[in-house]
C-alpha cells in the first residue's frame, strides 16, 4: 500500500486551497439566463444558529415551491427561476460584511437578511451603498430604519413600535388597568422592548411601578418576584425569551405570585411552554408575530393553510414564525418584481415601496422608512385558553375574547 508522506499531504492540501480559491474568484453574474439569485448571509453556526436555521428553511421552502411547483415566474414577459445563494456568517458581523461584499461584487441584486441587528445593520450599509435591495425578517433595531436608507426593508415594525398593538389592547381592557410592572433581561432585545412597553403604558396613563432587570440567562427571579408581590401591578409584562419566560412563570407559581394579567412577550407561543405548564398556562397573554390560526391569502402559495401543508410535506423542522416570515420575504420580492415588470433593482425598490399585499405571514406594507407598518404588520395578541392560543386583538383577527382578570394560580388547578 502506497503511503502518503506529510509533504505530499500538505502539497495536496495547498493545491486544493489554491485551486478552490481561484475558482471562487471567478465572477458570476447573478441574474443571467433567466435565473434570479437571492444573496445574503445567515448565522447558521454561532450564537444565532437556531433562528438562522429557521429562516433558512423559510427561504428554501419558497424557492423550492416557486421552481418546482410553479415552474418559475413570469416577470415582464420573461420566465425566471430562482436560486438561493445564502452563506453562513457564523453570527459574526465582520464575516457577514465580507461575504455580503463578495455577493455585491458578483452582481447579486437582491438580498435577504441575516439575523440580529448587529449583523444586519453593517451589511445593510454595504447593500445600500451599492444600490442593492435587502428584504429581511431578522432585525428590527430602530437604527436600521433611521439611517435614511432607500433599499432596506424589514417585515417587522421597528423595535420601538413593536408595542403599538399591545398598547391599543390595554386601552380596551375593562376594568381599565391602572398599573404595570415589567421584567426584562439585560439583552438588547429584551431591554428595547421593555423601554417601548413602559413608554407606551405611560402614554395611555398606566402607571409603571417597576422595571426590573435580570441577567440574560435567568435562573432565579425570586428577588424580582418579591418586589411584584409587595407592589402588585394590574399587568405584569416580561419581555423575555422562551426559556427565561418559563423560569419566571414557574417561580411565580411556586411563590404564589398572582397578578390579574400576565403578559409574556415570548414563550407561551411554544407548545412546549403550554404543555409544560398545563392548566397553569391559562390566561397568559403574548405577542403573536404569526399564528397558524390566522388564514391569509398568499399570491404564491394560495393561502396560509396551503403554505403550512406544503412546508410540513417538504420539511422535518417544525415551523416557526421566522420561517413563515422568511418565505414571505421571497413572496414579497416576487410580487414586487411582477408589479414592476422588471428585475431592475430601482424598479423593484419602487414596487416594494408601494407594495400592499397579504402573504402566508400576514399583510405586507412598508412605512416610508422601510420597516413594517406597525398596525398591519405588528404582532397580534394571543391568550392561552383551554391549552390553545386564541387571538384576542386586534378585533379584525379575533378568535376569542380576552379573559381579565385571570384566575389565580391556585384557582387554575
Amino acid at each position: 500500500m502506497t503511503k502518503i508522506s506529510r509533504r505530499t499531504a500538505l502539497g495536496l492540501f495547498g493545491a486544493s486551497v489554491v485551486g478552490s480559491t481561484a475558482l471562487r474568484f471567478a465572477p458570476a453574474r447573478a441574474q443571467d439566463g433567466g435565473v434570479i439569485r437571492f444573496g445574503g448571509s445567515l448565522g447558521m453556526s454561532g450564537r444565532y444558529a437556531e433562528t438562522g436555521l429557521n429562516i433558512r428553511h423559510g427561504y428554501e421552502t419558497a424557492i423550492k415551491y416557486l421552481n418546482e411547483e410553479m415552474g418559475g415566474v413570469e416577470i415582464g414577459g420573461k420566465a425566471y427561476r430562482f436560486e438561493l445563494g445564502i452563506v453562513d456568517d457564523a453570527s459574526d458581523p465582520a464575516r457577514a460584511t465580507t461575504l455580503i461584499q463578495r455577493q455585491v461584487d458578483e452582481g447579486v441584486d437582491f438580498f435577504l437578511g441575516s439575523y440580529g441587528s448587529n449583523v444586519v445593520l453593517p451589511c445593510a450599509g454595504i447593500t445600500e451603498a451599492a444600490g442593492k435591495i435587502m428584504v429581511q425578517v431578522g432585525a428590527s433595531a430602530d437604527q436600521i430604519f433611521t439611517q435614511g436608507y432607500d433599499y432596506i426593508f424589514g417585515l417587522f415594525p421597528r423595535a420601538s413600535r413593536a408595542w403599538v398593538t399591545s398598547i391599543e389592547l390595554f386601552k380596551t381592557i375593562e376594568p381599565k388597568p391602572k398599573s404595570v410592572s415589567i421584567i426584562a433581561t439585560n439583552g438588547a432585545f429584551s431591554k428595547l422592548n421593555a423601554e417601548a412597553a413602559a413608554a407606551g403604558c405611560k402614554e395611555i396613563g398606566i402607571e409603571v411601578l417597576d422595571v426590573l432587570e435580570l441577567p440574560e440567562q435567568v435562573t432565579d427571579a425570586s428577588s424580582a418576584l418579591a418586589t411584584i408581590r409587595s407592589r402588585t401591578p394590574d399587568i405584569l409584562i416580561t419581555t423575555t425569551v422562551d426559556q427565561n419566560s418559563l423560569v419566571i412563570v414557574r417561580q411565580m407559581i411556586a411563590t404564589e405570585t398572582n397578578v390579574p394579567l400576565l403578559y409574556q412577550f415570548l414563550g407561551p407561543q411554544l407548545p412546549a411552554y403550554r404543555e409544560s405548564l398545563g392548566a397553569k398556562a391559562t390566561g397568559v397573554i403574548m405577542q403573536l408575530p404569526w399564528d397558524a390560526s390566522l388564514d391569509f391569502s398568499d399570491p404564491v402559495f394560495g393561502d396560509t393553510e396551503s403554505y403550512i401543508s406544503y412546508y410540513n410535506e417538504t420539511n422535518k423542522r417544525p415551523l416557526s414564525y421566522h420561517t413563515v416570515g422568511a418565505s414571505a420575504c421571497i413572496t414579497t420580492y416576487v410580487e414586487a418584481m411582477r408589479a414592476a415588470g422588471s428585475i431592475d433593482p430601482a424598479a423593484v425598490r419602487d414596487a416594494l415601496d408601494a407594495i400592499d399585499i397579504t402573504t402566508a405571514f400576514g399583510p405586507v406594507k412598508f412605512t416610508e422608512d422601510g420597516d413594517g407598518d406597525p398596525i398591519l404588520m405588528g404582532a397580534k395578541i394571543g391568550q392561552v385558553q383551554d391549552g390553545k392560543i386564541k387571538v384576542i386583538f386586534p378585533t379584525d383577527f379575533k378568535t376569542g375574547e380576552l379573559v381579565y382578570p385571570t384566575p389565580t394560580w391556585a384557582q387554575k388547578g
Partner: protein, 330 residues
C-alpha cells in the same frame, strides 16, 4: 543587548519593501470584496501579532483578549458620542483612539497585577473571565448602551471609498503591531520574555525582572488590541456588546498564531491569511459542511505542523541543508 540578534538580511528588507509596496497599491486594483478580505487579514493578523507579545514569547496564553478589543471599542464609541458633531469624525476617531489606548493601559495594569501572578491554565481562565465580566457590564449598565447598541459616525476621506480608507487604517494598524513586536523581540525585553517562556523561575533567579517584563508585554499587547477594536467598530458603523465581546475573537488570535507559528512575527499574519481565506473563500459557500471541514483542516494542521507552518518550513529547510552537507562531505 546589541549583538544578540543577527542583523536583518537585505533579502528580508527587500521582501518587506516589496510586500509593503504591493499592499499600498492593492486598494486601487482589487475589488471591494478582496479589499474586505485584506482588511480582515490585516486587522486580525495585527491583533494576533499583538497577542504574541505575551503569548508568543511566554506560556501566558490569554483566552480573553476580546476584553481589550471591546474595551477600546466602547471607550472610543462612547467618547465620540460625548464629543458630538462639533468635532469632525476624524477628530473623534483620533481622540477616541488615544482615549481607548489610555483606558486599556490603566485596565491592563489593574488586571495584570493579580492575574499575572497566575500561570498556565489559571491565567488563561482568569483572562476568559475578565472578558466575560466586561461583556456583561457593558450590557447591564445603560450608560454603556451595550445591550441596545449604537451607531458610529461614517469616516470619510477625499478620493477614497470607505472600503479603501479602512484598508489603509488596518494596514497602518498591522504595521504598528509588527513594528512593536519586532522592536520588543530585538530588545532586552524580548530576550527576557523568551527566558521567561523557557523557565520563569530560573530567569528570575538569574536576575531577569520577570514581573516587570510580563507587565510591559501585557500592557503593550492590550493597548494595541484596544486600538484594533476602535478601528473595527468604526469600520462596521454599528456596535453592541455582542459585536466585540466575543469569545471567538479571543480564540481566533490564538488559532491564527498556532497555524502560522507562535512567537514569530510572520506566523500570525500567515495564520490569519490562511484561516480567513479558508473559512470565507474556499469553504464559504459550503453551507452545512464548512465548520466540519475547517475543524478537520485544523486537526490536520496540528498533527502535520505542530509548530505552525513556519515551524514546518524551518524543519524542512534544516533537513535539506543537512542533506546537502552530508552529500558534500567526502
Amino acid at each position: 543587548m546589541r549583538g544578540f540578534h543577527k542583523p536583518v538580511p537585505a533579502t528580508v528588507w527587500a521582501l518587506a519593501a516589496l510586500l509593503l509596496a504591493g499592499a499600498v497599491v492593492l486598494p486601487f486594483v482589487a475589488s471591494p470584496f478582496h479589499l474586505r478580505l485584506a482588511q480582515q487579514i490585516l486587522l486580525f493578523g495585527g491583533l494576533a501579532v499583538a497577542w504574541n507579545l505575551l503569548g508568543g514569547f511566554t506560556t501566558y496564553w490569554s483566552f480573553g483578549h476580546a476584553a481589550f478589543f471591546g474595551l477600546g471599542a466602547f471607550a472610543a464609541g462612547l467618547l465620540g458620542q460625548q464629543l458630538g458633531a462639533e468635532f469632525s469624525v476624524a477628530a473623534r476617531l483620533i481622540i477616541g483612539l488615544a482615549f481607548a489606548v489610555a483606558i486599556s493601559l490603566v485596565a491592563a495594569v489593574a488586571v495584570a497585577l493579580p492575574v499575572l501572578r497566575l500561570r498556565g491554565i489559571y491565567f488563561a481562565i482568569a483572562m476568559l473571565a475578565f472578558a466575560q465580566i466586561l461583556g456583561e457590564v457593558s450590557k447591564t449598565f445603560d450608560l454603556f448602551q451595550g445591550a441596545m447598541g449604537f451607531p458610529l459616525p461614517l469616516l470619510k476621506f477625499p478620493g477614497l471609498e470607505k472600503v479603501q480608507l479602512f484598508y489603509f487604517l488596518f494596514l497602518l494598524f498591522c504595521l504598528v503591531s509588527v513594528a512593536v513586536f519586532v522592536l520588543v523581540k530585538r530588545s532586552r525585553l524580548g530576550v527576557g520574555l523568551t527566558c521567561i517562556g523557557q523557565d520563569e523561575d530560573t530567569a528570575a533567579m538569574l536576575g531577569v525582572p520577570t514581573e516587570r517584563y510580563k507587565l510591559v508585554a501585557f500592557v503593550l499587547s492590550a493597548m494595541l488590541t484596544a486600538a484594533g477594536g476602535v478601528l473595527y467598530v468604526y469600520g462596521l458603523g454599528f456596535m453592541t456588546s455582542e459585536t466585540v465581546f466575543r469569545i471567538d475573537i479571543s480564540l481566533n488570535l490564538i488559532l491564527f498564531s498556532m497555524v502560522g507559528g507562535i512567537g514569530t512575527v510572520a506566523g500570525p499574519l500567515i495564520g490569519a491569511t490562511i484561516m480567513i481565506l479558508l473559512t470565507q473563500v474556499v469553504l464559504g459557500d459550503l453551507l452545512d459542511l464548512h465548520m466540519m471541514l475547517t475543524g478537520a483542516v485544523l486537526i490536520a494542521m496540528v498533527i502535520l505542523a505542530p509548530k505552525g507552518l513556519l515551524g514546518l518550513f524551518r524543519r524542512a529547510w534544516s533537513r535539506r541543508r543537512l542533506a546537502e552537507t552530508v552529500e558534500a562531505t567526502p
